[in-house]
Amino acid sequence: MRGTSRTSIAFWIGFVILTLVLPQFLRTGYLINALIVTVTWIIFALSFDLSAGHVGTVSLGHPVFFGLGAYVTALAAPALGLDYVGSVLLSMLAMGVLAYVSGIAFFRIAEVTFAIGTLGALIIAQLLANNAFEITGGPMCTQGVSRPVINLFGLTSISVTEPIEYYYLLLPLLFLTILVYRRLAHSRIGRAFAAVRQDEVRALAMGINPMRYKLLAFAAGGALIGALGSFQAQYITLVCPSELALSYTLNLLIIVFVGGSGSFRGVLLGAIIFTVLPRILETVGNVPPAYQQLIYGVILLLVIRFLPDGLDSVIERVLARRRGVSREVSDAA
């Protein structure tokens, strides 16, 4: 909404440079893999937050687009002879269309019913992936997904194997996601999103068609997550029904709600904490996994209790005080 100020240009230049050079400082495949995981969750959570944080439609079934996006690449891309870019686009398109079509059906229901209905859809999708043994390999997974190959104008091709190469392959998707997120959330469309989230009836009275914006956010998010699933399939070279798991939904909720829903900075923060904290707990604190999960649960409850707008609200408050725009708040009090 605000114009492109000098600080925000500086921020984005800094951000792009940081993401480009960061892996050069991380020497082991482990750390680069950890970075890939972090970026994966940033993309996943931003795409989820487009709907959950901005339009207010919390779908508990978002991993469907991730898992099915991965299966589309694993099962259909080889048959069509697609390279990396082609397979990502295929999954993206397929999941965008799926999100749009399923959205038309699911947005007939609202709020809690919508959340649980989408949860039901996730369970169905996972059960199908698990039991359609002849197609997906069920719990034995679809194995041997080929590693990414990029065709350059049909002349030559590059194949990708190293984690650092994968990272640079994922980066464009991160930038695309951020771009879509920013363009949708911080434009006039974002204002319509906010209107639909805050009061659907009043939005209608202003000529805003809630369905249209719900579908836009859902389909855009679905397409991005589908692309992410395609990357994932080619990175792990294996697609299992666990990619459609409810635990992914829980992770998304933890990231978005602990970080701060509806805010780029909040989601970024949430995703970084969520992926970095376990590494610290493991390597430094040697905390057993069950205790880690317990810690997440407690953090989630504490944040909801004391910071219902997420950790980002703390940063926001500090920044607002620095900026000296606190006069508006004091006016209100």
């Binding site: 921020f11 997974c141 970095v276 610290i280 390597t283 430094v284």
Partner: protein
Amino acid sequence: MNRLKFVLFVSVVLLVVSGSALYAQDDATPIKIGLYAPMTGPVAFLGEGFQYGATIAIEDLGGEIEGHPLELVVADNKCNPTDAVTAIRQLIEVDEVDVILGGGCSSATVAAQDVIKEGETPAVSATSTNPSIYNGMGVGGNIWQFRVNPDDLIMASAFASMIAEDTQRISLVAENTDFGRGAITAYKPIFEELGLEIVTEDYFDLGTADYRPALTRIRASQPDSLLVVMTERDGSTFMRQLREVGVDAKIYSRGSLTSPLFLEYTEDDPTIGEGIIEFSFWAAGLDPEFDAHFLERFDTPNSPHRGMSYYVTRYVIGEAIRNAILNEGEATRQTIRDELEATSIETPIGLIEFDDHNQAYPFGTLQTIEDGKTVFFDTVELVPVDHGE
């Protein structure tokens, strides 16, 4: 300005992580054994079992080999491929383990293959029965992966003909996991080849509470025998309800339905497991002394995962480390791998020697439950079989 500070914050967080990772480097004196298994989630019992087995094995080795202290490092692969890649990299690149003990969850095992190969770290699988990794091991390309336990294809050829002796109509029952699916995939074509009629085929998700609808159908189909591929966790509930419904058929098991743990789960009614015939690569009673030792140490009975983890750590990995130190002067990933390849050791589970696919052939074991007790009654020689392409 403020956004710049945010960028700074992010970088600091990331630097802390990378720093902590570097800090975790070892000084190379202790020998680290990485345990790669699911520690959380619905199959966390696999990881727990492995941890029991490896812990007691290290204790029995005196906590050290030739003066080098042994250290067990655990990484949770959560039984899904995504976390598996993180976990295996953690072991190889951060914890810098010298050798990896793995088990359960073929999805995690398969996902780890490339990282193990690139990371040039020897890994020994103790209970992963999925045939799909056989072709890739050893001469198949991945010289770093070893498997002690026989896979389902190897076992099926021996067990299926045994079942066929008194069975015309068979019901297949398996847990809906890579373990259950993998086993049925191996057995089904052999049964068909032997002319058996498969009357029902059911897969149950882990933690299923009510089996009655399927059991009623199985009863109506009047099979001579059932082949049940389940662990004692779900298997005990399944068998309980099977007795309730009154399915009158012989029970063959390819899981752990005759283990002491199964008996513990059904101790209120010892007749539940009566007469089950189980084929495996581990049996209670194969090594009664250790079973007692285990029970005393952890106050819970031995089981296939617990036992296999023990034997593999104590004998296969332990001996490879010892030989590496004695023959090559030090235990490195390379020397341990070379010694693993040369393994030839008599163990309570049979003679362990790896073929050119790094696959070992311990005993097949047969056991049953008689008068509420596990009775181990025979071992079977296992031989290499054709794994196709």
